[in-house]
Subunit: 330 residues, 2 copies
């Protein structure tokens, strides 16, 4: 997707429903020209409200449907805005389950205007099955005790820190928000099961010996719904370095009140054993906590405890930065 | 798919290319009315050659494309036979990647004649994501050191032995040949990655307390291409009993000369740890060897060695039967 972007929030009911747009704004603010909100919208990114006409005038290239509603459905009331963007010659990107091209009015308008539609959750190519063949270049993968515990934010923070240190690094997106931030990637949870690791091998191919692919993890080996995705991603990533992400106030696996979280040590060990199938040199280089819900004293006690138990650097990207993890890489 | 079947072998070049048909014949001979071979066909199931007209006369309900060629492609030269079957009012079933319904002449003929096409490799429904919630009834899953090492044959042999002992048992097919044998099932390797375990939860639902679902495994946790499928299947199966399948003459993972096979003990331990996420009571109840390539002395030495190392009953379904595994269940 070509920047700059106009971030469309529709008429979503709360800030959380705009988390795709806010993820883009957090990590790629220079690409965000403004937000477009419909009457009734209860989200606000804190950037200027802009019309499609203003966006076109300013050279905006892509209209991004920046919402993540439950079910991934494209609301009927948003279609006119999308058509207006197409009429203005903007490309349209969406991470919803509903394909833009499956809405006849949108498909027809895009065809007539010659505008590209980016249904980024759906892979636009076929993949090969994985091979596990060693590839050149270096790779770091974020893995998690659970879903939604900071794997994308940690990977993006590591890519940024690597670049600030003059290292060669590329964030590799594996989920819809990551793809909209990076402008490319593969939503591995939407790939046909036989091709999970093959898709990741394609996503993070051979590279220069001192180049790091920083690959966004998905799910958790301990999540009963998504562990297959996590394992295929781990094997395909062939990571040299692993970072465990953890949300310390979580009391059960996301969405599953009956399912306890794994112990940190168990999670480290199981991920490492699995990772070594395709990279015998794989090792953990740090733990990344999402400590937003903790007070400073709690956070410090937890950091000290985890560091002592695991011998790994423990960071919170938003509090400490991720420098300690990069120090452990060399 | 409704029996009886007419097994179509096309003009395949060797016996192995007809392995889907021979699997059906091995396990469901009572459903097989005959084979239909085109000129040049080098496979022979050893059952009568029959025409479509003869099949219709005899009450055959389904024309089964019983080939498993590389790439899963529907050959142009087979279309006329399929059209002839449709004209005769037979349903058509295929496990190829090419969908029958994607061939315009086939789709048109089926629509006109009101005949159902079964593209059994492609799921015909949407699944939910898995939950890991405990289900009633009992489950046995075959897992493997590698692909194609006897998981389907072992599961079918166990179902048969259970039934012969008067136990309640249902074979649950997870691959195309298994589906054609069972007449139903889900090809889990063709499910979208997010829904692997959810699809298996759907396939083996709540059941009577003394009923066994005998679930066909796929791939291996140690295969770099397919481990994600295997892990989602393991979690979704929620197996009480696991059987490890192994082909002892295999020198490397199937299709990957650089990838060694796992040690038996490592494979047992890793599968068990993973299985216990959704069933803390999971345990191995046996090892099933595909010893066709071994002489009797080799086989006996291997059986004794594995039994001593693991403490598990070791069987070869075609030599010893699987009774020792059932004995270990109780």
């Amino acid at each position: 997707m070509e920047p700059p972007y106009l971030l469309f929030l529709g008429d979503v009911a709360d800030q959380l429903a705009a988390k795709t747009a806010s993820g883009i704004l957090d990590w790629r603010p220079e690409r965000c020209f403004g937000q477009l909100r419909l009457p009734g919208c209860r989200a606000d990114l804190g950037i200027p409200d802009r019309t499609v006409a203003e966006a076109r005038e300013a050279g905006v290239r892509t209209f991004v449907v920046g919402v993540a509603n439950s079910g991934g459905v494209l609301a009927e009331g948003w279609i006119d805005s999308i058509l207006e963007a197409i009429e203005a010659g903007l490309e349209v990107a969406s991470g919803l389950h509903t394909r833009l091209g499956d809405v006849p009015r949108i498909a027809a308008a895009a065809a007539e205007r010659g505008v590209t539609l980016h249904d980024i959750r759906h892979p636009d190519r076929r993949f090969s099955t994985g091979t596990g063949q060693r590839r050149s270049g270096r790779r770091l993968l974020t893995v998690g005790t659970d879903c939604s515990c900071g794997k994308m934010y940690t990977a993006l923070a590591i890519e940024r820190e690597m670049k600030s240190r003059g290292m060669k690094a590329t964030f590799r997106a594996t989920g819809q928000t990551g793809i909209l931030i990076a402008g490319e990637g593969v939503a591995v949870d939407a790939v046909v099961a036989d091709f999970i690791s093959g898709a990741v091998e394609w996503l993070a191919p051979d590279n220069e010996p001192d180049h790091w692919d920083v690959i966004e993890g998905q799910g958790s080996l301990f999540h009963p719904a998504f562990a297959g995705v996590s394992l295929g991603l781990l094997h395909g990533a062939q990571a040299d370095a692993l970072v465990l992400c953890h949300e310390p106030t979580r009391r059960h696996m996301r969405g599953l009140p009956h399912q306890p979280l794994p112990e940190i040590e168990e999670c480290l060990d199981f991920n490492l054993r699995a990772a070594r199938l395709t990279n015998p040199e794989a090792r953990f280089v740090g733990i990344s906590l999402n400590g937003a819900a903790l007070c400073a004293a709690e956070r410090e006690a937890l950091f000290a405890d985890l560091a002592e138990r695991t011998g790994l650097p423990v960071v919170d990207p938003f509090v400490t930065g991720v420098g300690a993890i990069l120090d452990a890489l060399s």
